[in-house]
Symmetry: C2
Subunit: 202 residues, 2 copies
């Protein structure tokens, strides 16, 4: 792509480094900013700069938080004996949206992925073990809510092994046919797991 | 959507003001920036700020340019007697990519759109007329390359009327069946125009 201006080219290059945004989309966004008044661009860059510089993580669960400890960890209404292990902040948001979970969280910051050079020490796994030690047996259940991928499964197995020394029940969110999904269009592995994991009809 | 942090919420709100980016995509981008090092966000915001503050427009054709007059207007290889009128910079880029045009451009900055409150005075139409006067008859052809929409057609009619006082040939880019397109899937209006605008088979 030939750009009419180095400034445009630099901006397009930076924007297209973001995931899922190609050069054409980036150019469309840049030309939109050019048409809008200068303070709109300033508002965008200010929000991004402030966010990146001031962002903090909860000292307990490592979720993104504006305070030292996040609202969920601080809440007296949440059941501190159940701890849900997730990869990222957006997983916490997704589970919170269901309104079906009343425990607390632990955000790993990713999954074990040798291909991408991510090992256990790059994740908040030691912090989870510390948290278990500090809890002195008050955490009764760990719910693993990791992606149903090779990396997610590897991470789940690793966590299961590390958690064996504690008197805690380790569970995993159910894998099965999605609600509203049609049986014939469900892939074999999911359908197979849904049969193995069948539950009592009640 | 419930956000774990006001900083994240502000950043998501600003990003989702960009065209074609919803809250979910914006959140994904923000969380990506959180995972990456701080200087990546700084590189992005710097490029956007510099672009918006320093961007200039060619004094002759109003295309985006790093110099007072853009490379196309300055070039001695371009045919200054043919002038292509387009809406935006990306139209110039698209036409340049075809390598089929050797004239110069005039960027209007949009099209007449009463619905969006854009009148002739909001566009570089008076500047085009001035340019015609200054050219003293050396511009022999004006090629209208506007979008085939109601607004584009309105703008084309308006320009045609304003240009009547000059001894200049006003043409429009061809409307017809796209190359590689199938006849049966072409909409009626396009197919109709392609019949009315049929050319000698050579």
């Amino acid at each position: 792509m030939e750009f009419p201006s180095k400034l445009i080219e630099d901006a397009v290059n930076e924007i297209s480094k973001l995931p899922g945004i190609g050069k054409k989309t980036a150019l469309r966004l840049v030309l939109h900013l050019v048409k809008e008044s200068e303070h709109k661009t300033a508002a965008l860059t200010d929000a991004l700069t402030r966010m990146r510089q001031q962002i903090r993580f909860c000292k307990t669960c490592y979720n993104i938080s504006d305070t030292e400890e996040c609202g969920i960890c601080q809440s007296h209404r949440r059941d501190k004996s159940v701890l849900c292990v997730v990869e990222e902040t957006n997983d916490v948001m997704a589970i919170e949206n269901t309104a079906q979970y009343n425990g607390v969280y632990h955000v790993l910051g990713g999954v074990i992925s040798p291909m991408n050079g991510v090992g256990p020490s790059d994740l908040k796994i030691d912090a989870l073990i510390d948290r278990m030690v500090r809890a002195q047996g008050t955490i009764k259940e760990i719910v693993l809510a990791l992606s149903p991928t090779m990396e997610g499964d590897t991470t789940a197995f690793y966590l299961h092994k590390r958690l064996r020394e504690f008197p805690v029940k380790v569970t995993s969110i159910a894998r099965g046919v999605p609600v509203g999904g049609e049986l014939e269009y469900t892939d074999e592995i999911t359908l197979g797991r849904s049969i193995l994991g069948r539950t009592l009809f009640s």
